[in-house]
Symmetry: C2
Subunit: 316 residues, 2 copies
């Protein structure tokens, strides 16, 4: 049995899988919002221990634990740096070593989006294809590439589809640049825009729905509910997001001539098949080879893709 | 010895190379502007015969001849279709077979931009790198990808960097779509824009320079001369072209995290080192990992890159 942990900005998902990638134990807990890397590492260890217990084993008995993480991941060195959504995490931290010591087994780390893409390729919606782009539409928009059956990481940082430019001199992105796809389509950027326009007097139910749901930010569920209610601002911002995603994905397809797009992430999975169909239709006018568009599929592993892909980092 | 032919929209470049890729014979002739595929194939055969004679041999004695071609190239079938810049060439034509019969040796075909990129990777500016994007800035803007030492062709049509979108809902491209990089940076699109603005009364020396040079279109040399004279419209359109190229290339780098960009093509080679430096500098603000930008190099093989890469299609 192996362990797999998906470290997200808001929650930690830990699982234990058997040799057939079946989940035999799991645990979930919130990501510490304060403190520092050691607090996060302690929470990772607790979540994995709990998942192991649920599987009737201990972490020491696991063949290994894989961790999918945001930030600048150096898989070889076992370090993570610049994890912007985690508390006080800038310099490289030897997570592999520290977490391994706490769990009593070897730990391998990888980029969260890359491992989730690999999981969809091996176990999920990407199985029929040899080349695909995973598009994870959530707080930001991450991308993962499989080319001819192999992960493509470039010099280690490939896949930043959210920072492909869809409009020269366009909207300011949370990354500080202008015109990035994520400036229009990332949930964080969308919330900033919605707040600014609401404060200037534009009517919207978004923040009322947020409060009703007991949230302090615009989650995927909040956006979905507002769209259901045909909230004008929400519809406008979601339309804009689709436009940006389709433009960037079409550009990626024109460059790489991929077989398939797999759409995941909080918003991607929430809007599901409707989003995949819309992406396929709206992408078409931008495709240079429009007689042979790529397949567009919804991620099948949902919330578990990241943890399943992480578990693959330690075999088989 | 092997033969290599670069089939361009305006000229045919044929060479004969030895086992060290040294050019031992060459010939050049204009691409037929009228007639049909058989006229083009006859001209290809004549050019290759003449190059063989210059090398002191015959085409029958060559180990094979490679052809780099525009259009929809099916290397396996040996056919070329949809070659928009060649006369009356839409349906697939069995060029490999017909040219082989005329030359008395086997013929392999490939996409013109792909073979030129491969030549730069093996013999030219790309030698130090394992992953690169070739950007061929001419009538259109073509792209070729080498990933981890291998050509990446996708399902056969990868590399359309000229049709990455740099501005949603932007300028109309000769391909019929909107906001493509080539709509701003392709020489053909630039000439259409220059003519339209000149006809509306904008002053420019571009067309006077064109006439002085005895040309009927705005060649790279015409653009270079106009820039030298600080012609306002020419400077504006070239600035716009750089902006579009840098935006698309930066998006490609954010997606693929490449080691290097190799800039070729008529305009790319004409502006040379200055263009490479400008591309590197203007790309920087768009790069997500701006602490590790890719190298930007000028293509070293110049006008012979296409023919040298074509000759590689038949070994060694």
């Amino acid at each position: 049995m192996r362990g797999g942990i998906d470290l997200g900005g808001t929650k930690i998902q830990a699982i234990v899988v058997d040799d057939d990638h079946a989940i035999v134990g799991e645990a979930r807990r919130p990501t510490p919002a304060t403190g520092g890397p050691d607090d996060v590492i302690a929470a990772l260890a607790e979540a994995q221990r709990e998942a192991a217990a649920a599987a009737g084993t201990t972490t020491e008995a696991l063949a290994g634990v894989g961790l999918g993480s945001p930030g600048d991941v150096d898989a070889g060195a076992g370090t993570i740096a610049q994890a912007g959504n985690l508390p006080n995490w800038r310099d490289p931290v030897p997570v592999g070593e520290r977490l391994g010591a706490l769990l009593g087994t070897r730990v391998a780390i990888g980029n969260d989006v890359s491992v989730a893409t690999k999981a969809e390729y091996e176990l999920g919606a990407g199985r029929p294809y040899r080349s695909l782009l995973g598009v994870f539409w959530g707080t930001g928009v991450g991308g993962g590439l499989i080319l001819d059956g192999r992960e493509w990481l470039g010099r280690g940082a490939a896949g930043e589809i959210g920072h492909m430019v869809v409009k020269e001199g366009g909207a300011k992105c949370p990354c500080g640049r202008h015109g990035c796809m994520e400036a229009y389509a990332g949930r964080k950027a969308m919330e900033l825009t919605a707040r600014a326009r609401h404060e200037k007097g534009e009517p919207t139910k978004l923040f009322k729905i947020m409060e009703e749901k007991g949230r302090d930010r615009l989650t995927s569920a909040v956006w979905a509910k507002a769209i259901e209610h045909e909230d004008t601002l929400a519809v406008h911002l979601i339309d804009r997001a689709y436009r940006a995603i389709t433009t960037a994905v079409a550009s990626a397809v024109n460059l790489l001539d991929l077989e398939a797009i797999v759409l995941g992430g909080g918003l991607g999975v929430r809007f599901g098949e409707a989003a995949a169909q819309r992406l396929a239709a709206e992408m078409r006018p931008h495709l240079f080879n429009d007689d042979r568009p790529p397949a567009v599929k919804v991620a099948e592993l949902g919330d578990y893709g990241g943890a399943l892909g992480a578990a693959m980092l330690v075999g088989p």
